[in-house]
């Protein structure tokens, strides 16, 4: 745009493309799942892995929730042997990123029946992949409500003893578990 005056750059950009990337690493800093949504940021797998290594080194000891790294704001959370990260531009509302991280963590937690650890996650990798896909589509936050994400990620019907529980019941129990975790 040649004619419009340049923006000061201090204000946040009015865009839906907020999330630059999300990833889950194990406790050695290896990638379990990672998605990057901006073609201009970390375009190759090599750069991404180098970034993840760096990110992990900077974050695995300090439990500090948020870090600015390589021009990105990264919010993170860990549990047992898993590290969850959500990345956005360094010029982004940190709290929005935080809400996405919460959505990611909570929905994974519900999917894994609160056993948030690497082995269980790998056993349910397909569901977690679907959750990833339901939270963010190409950098746009698709949904940030854990129960509805889990609902859309579709629990495997065979896992639930048929006749005992319907999908609605599963969701109900998930909701209750969530409530408990919030009350804690």
């Amino acid at each position: 745009m040649v004619h419009t005056g340049t923006m000061e750059g201090a204000l946040f950009e009015p865009t839906l493309y907020i999330v630059k990337g999300m990833c889950i690493l194990d406790n050695d800093g290896n990638r379990i799942l990672a998605k990057y949504y901006d073609k201009n940021i970390l375009p190759t797998a090599k750069e991404q892995k180098a970034f993840e290594k760096n990110l992990f080194n900077k974050t695995h000891r300090a439990n500090a929730e948020i870090i600015m790294l390589d021009g990105l704001t990264c919010v993170y959370k860990n549990n047992v042997d898993l590290f969850f990260y959500v990345m956005g531009s360094s010029h982004e509302n940190e709290l929005i990123l935080q809400s996405v991280l919460n959505a990611l963590y909570e929905s994974v937690s519900i999917l894994l029946r609160r056993n948030v650890e690497k082995r269980v996650l790998l056993d349910n990798l397909d569901a977690v992949m679907l959750a990833f896909d339901e939270i963010c589509d190409g950098g746009v936050i698709l949904d940030a409500d854990p129960t509805s994400i889990v609902g859309r990620a579709a629990l495997r019907t065979e896992d639930v003893p048929l006749g005992e529980q319907t999908v609605v019941q599963v969701l109900q129990s998930a909701k209750e578990q969530l409530k408990w975790s919030l009350l804690k």
Binding site: M1, V2, H3, G5, M7, E8, A10, L11, F12, E13, P14, T15, L16, D26, R31, L33, A34, A45, K46, Q48, K49, A62, A64, E65, I66, I67, M68, L69, D70, G71, V75, S90, H91, N93, E94, L95, I96, Q98, K118, R119, L122, D123, L125, D126, M129, L130, D133, D137, G138, V140, I141, L142, D143, A144, S148, R152, A154, R156, T157, E158
Partner: protein
């Protein structure tokens, strides 16, 4: 032994996990199972997740492999398992970028998208949009429109988000769905209205009026979704930013109102907007107090957000930030080091001299733990401190030197070196210590670019110091130890010492002579070149080619050289025709800010060279001398906007009329400009703009020859835009049938000034000697009496007319302005203006020297 240990650990870790040590070929083999009927959904889903896992790990599939897997995957549409179907969609999305003929699944996906199973529909839409291109999209347009207003929020969101992705390739098409999106904005579901708002804001981003309408309407009936509110705040803030009138007041009120929202996300968004608006809100206090509260939060995110935003305020409202000192003090020892760094640097920026030492001690306790970005923030804060409290330079320089010795990337090291360099340049007392630190640093510096820069600085500043000889050892060490580029820089630096300090000349000559045997061409060439110049003993020669060498803009130099080789390789190249490097504008200092990824800065000439190359015959005009800052020829809010760029060549000027059509129901064709030229000017050619569609700039170029006599070159032009208007459909941009009609549009007059034709050069301390040396070139002088009462204003306006930076004014009872530069064609000039008070206003005495007397006369004429 160690490998055995690791194996054991891996075994424990993976515990036979199916995803460890996956092999691509085996997994691709497994995918063949998909061709069986019936399939076991569980097994298939597992194989699919293995494929996705591999892709996610960065494994590369060849196009053939990807296509094979893709086609195998499509077989899985036979299964009715929900989970499996969803995995299939995911796979389609991932493979769509790698495989061929992916559109084969269009019909299956369209069926799912319109089917009854809600769990399929949303995901099917997103998968479908990832495989369609703009030509295919028309076929599914009807379904998309329906999906946007579907009562299932997942479906509606999926359609909206997919539409947003598509709008980057097919903006016109998506614009037709605006009505549906408008409807979706009122949805009960928070995410749907967020996505709808996002797509509306995106399609209308160039249509200010409709954004105004939308924001005004939505601000009155607040949205439910906090995300949507954040977006609305951003839109409102943008409107305030682009509007200087009082009309923006309601938006500011809306943003202030959001400070009382229940969601922290929205509160922060509002506070951030208020703090960062260029036009300050009446009252910052509520926003600041919200940020203050954030600083005391138990969540690190909130503390960081609060501290960061307060830090940004330091430059504009230091007092507002100083009031939060207590809160920031509490954050100094924050476990999140980013927060601590921001707190300390902010306090440094707002605090008094007495607190500097204490805060510095705090920083040094954790500086090794923070990331490079934040280290740079710290370095910048220290750099500002050096300027603010020059007396503290000793401890600050020592601190910087300490940081320089630590581990760190190039950018970090460069920031430190920059800080020391400014310290050296601005504080004469700190010069010796600063240079000593830098000397020590290059002894062990792995970054070539940095070493070169520091050597250059040593060459510039070293000879002026009390004991120049001590630096030579450091410089010569580089010649012995380093790579080619560093050696070459070291040779140049040594030459500076030889040129400026006669007592060192014999020694320097010996050192340079040794470099003449270097393996590297550049080093050898430089050594011989400098030695020859120093040998001549001609002070003028030494000054022009060693001490004060004009530097050409490297990018334009490269282009000029390439053009030269292409057009007239036999003639010698004249470097004076290439624009000089402009002094970098002092960057606007953001007090405490983390570096975002910044686009590369380009000079105006670099930006337009590409566009100019379209003008036929442009090569024959010679190299571009200068492109002037654009001027508007229309009011800002008119239907057609035109901006003029004057590209000056040696004997020609190319006028570029950059036009923008802001009416979406018109297409302009055969756009041209009718010019009323002053008598001496001659229009050579004109390049029409064939088609000017809505909101896409296009340019008309006019090539004009300058009058032969320089003095005739000042003149005023009248201009009228001429074009043929064709009406078109505002939504699709398709022109209505039938002929258009011719129309004209008056533009404002513009002039060609002296300033347009000169390139001013920054003159340093050497101005006096240069002026003296030019004693025998023609001089033109004159006296004027100006009615303006104030010498300072007069001096400023003289500077503007002659393009001399304000720093060229030497203050005193009688103000003296010294400047110089090059006229188009390469004639250099020097000008001296003395301004003093007199009985009837201001008295001005001007003297201009140039080998071309008419250039000097023109300069005088410009001031009349």
């Amino acid at each position: 032994m160690s490998s055995f240990k690791r194996d054991k650990k891996e075994e424990e870790d993976s515990g036979g996990s199916p995803f460890m040590n996956l092999d691509k070929t085996i997994v691709l083999q497994e995918a063949r199972y998909f061709n069986e009927t019936p399939v076991n959904p569980r097994k298939c889903s597992h194989i699919l997740s293995k494929i996705l896992f591999l892709l996610n790990q960065g494994e590369k599939l060849s196009t053939q492999e990807a296509t094979d897997v893709f086609f195998a995957t499509t077989k899985l549409f036979q299964s009715k398992d929900v989970m499996l179907r969803r995995m299939v969609y995911l796979c389609i999305k991932e493979l769509s970028k790698l495989a061929q003929d992916v559109i084969i699944v269009t019909s299956s996906l369209t069926k799912d998208m319109t089917g009854k199973e809600d769990l399929y529909r949303a995901a099917a839409i997103r998968a479908l949009c990832s495989i369609t291109d703009s030509t295919m999209i028309q076929a599914i347009e009807r379904y998309m429109k329906q999906a946007i207003v579907d009562k299932n929020p997942a479906v509606s969101s999926a359609a909206l988000v997919s539409a947003l992705h598509l709008s980057s390739t097919a903006p016109d098409l998506v614009r037709r769905w605006v009505n549906e999106a408008q409807e979706a904005i009122n949805s009960d579901n928070a995410m749907v209205s967020y996505h709808a708002l996002g797509i509306l804001a995106n399609t209308r981003r160039n249509d200010k009026l409709s954004i105004v309408k939308m924001v005004t309407r939505l601000a009155k009936s607040p949205l439910k979704s906090p995300y949507a509110l954040c977006l609305l705040i951003r839109l409102a803030a943008q409107l305030v930013e682009n509007d200087d009138s009082d009309a923006a007041q309601p938006y500011i009120e809306f943003i202030e109102c959001c400070l009382r929202h229940k969601s922290e996300m929205v509160i922060y968004e509002a506070a951030h907007a208020i703090v960062n608006l260029r036009k300050t809100a009446r009252d910052l206090a509520p926003a600041v107090s919200v940020l203050q509260l954030f600083c005391g939060s138990s969540k690190a995110c909130l503390r960081l957000a609060g501290a960061r935003t307060l830090a940004r305020l330091t430059s504009k409202h230091p007092t507002a930030v100083a009031a939060c000192a207590v809160d920031l003090e509490n954050l100094i020892s924050d476990p999140n080091r980013s927060v601590a760094t921001l707190a300390v640097t902010t306090l440094l920026a707002t605090g008094a001299e007495s607190s500097v030492d204490r805060l510095m001690k705090q920083i040094s306790s954790f500086v090794s733990e923070i990331s490079d970005e934040f280290k740079i923030v710290v370095v910048k804060a220290i750099r500002r401190l050096c300027q603010k409290f020059p007396r503290k330079h000793q401890s600050l320089a020592a601190f910087l030197a300490g940081m320089l010795r630590d581990e760190g990337g190039l950018e970090y090291k460069a920031a430190i070196a920059d800080a020391i360099i400014t310290l050296v340049e601005e504080n004469p007392e700190a010069k010796e210590t600063g240079l000593a630190h830098l000397c020590e640093f290059i002894e062990d510096c792995e970054h070539t670019t940095l070493a070169v820069r520091i050597l250059h600085l040593l060459g510039r500043e070293g000879p002026k110091s009390r004991q120049p000889s001590r630096y030579i050892r450091f410089i010569y060490n580089r010649v012995i130890l380093e790579s080619g580029p560093v050696r070459a820089a070291a040779v140049s630096a040594m030459a500076q010492f030889g040129a400026q300090r006669p007592e060192l000349l014999p020694n320097i000559r010996v050192l340079l002579a040794r470099c003449e045997m270097d393996d590297e061409d550049e080093v050898r060439d430089r050594a011989i070149y400098y030695n020859a110049i120093l040998d001549s003993g001609d002070q003028q020669l030494i000054n022009d080619f060693i001490i004060d060498v004009p530097k050409s803009n490297p990018i334009l130099l490269e282009k000029a050289l390439r053009d030269h080789i292409a057009t007239k390789p036999d003639e010698p190249f004249d470097i004076m025709t290439v624009p000089m490097e402009e002094e970098k504008k002092k960057e606007k200092e953001d007090v405490v800010e983390i570096e975002a990824r910044k686009p590369k800065q380009m000079t105006i000439e670099e930006i337009y060279t590409q566009q100019l190359s379209r003008v036929p015959g442009i090569e024959s005009l010679g190299p571009l001398f200068k492109t002037n800052i654009p001027i508007d020829l229309t009011e800002p809010e008119t239907e057609y906007r035109v901006r003029l760029l004057k590209h000056v060549f040696v004997r020609h000027i190319v006028l570029q009329f950059e036009c923008l059509n802001t009416l979406n129901d018109q297409i302009l064709e055969k756009v041209s400009v009718r010019l009323d030229c002053p008598p001496e000017y001659e229009i050579k050619s004109m390049l029409f703009c064939q088609r000017l569609v809505y909101n896409q700039p296009g340019s008309v170029f006019v090539v004009i020859e300058f009058p032969c006599a320089y003095l005739d070159s000042l003149g005023t032009f009248g201009a009228t835009l001429e074009f043929v208007v064709c009406d078109c459909d505002p939504n699709t941009g398709a022109p209505d049938p039938g002929e258009g009609y011719a129309d004209t549009y008056p533009l404002e007059e513009f002039s060609i000034y002296c300033l347009d034709q000169i390139r001013a050069r920054i003159m340093g301390d050497e101005w006096d000697s240069t002026w003296e040396r030019a004693a025998n070139v023609p001089e033109v002088s004159g006296n004027f009496v100006l009615p303006e009462l104030d010498p300072a204003t007069a001096a400023k306006s003289v500077c503007e007319v002659l393009g001399i930076p304000k720093s060229g004014i030497i203050d005193g009872a009688i103000k003296e302005i010294r400047g110089g530069g090059v006229f188009r064609g390469g004639a250099p000039y020097l000008v001296k203006v003395r301004i003093g008070p007199s009985s009837e206003g201001v008295r001005m005495q001007i003297a201009a020297r140039s080998p071309r007397e008419d250039v000097a006369q023109l300069l005088l004429a410009a001031l009349e």
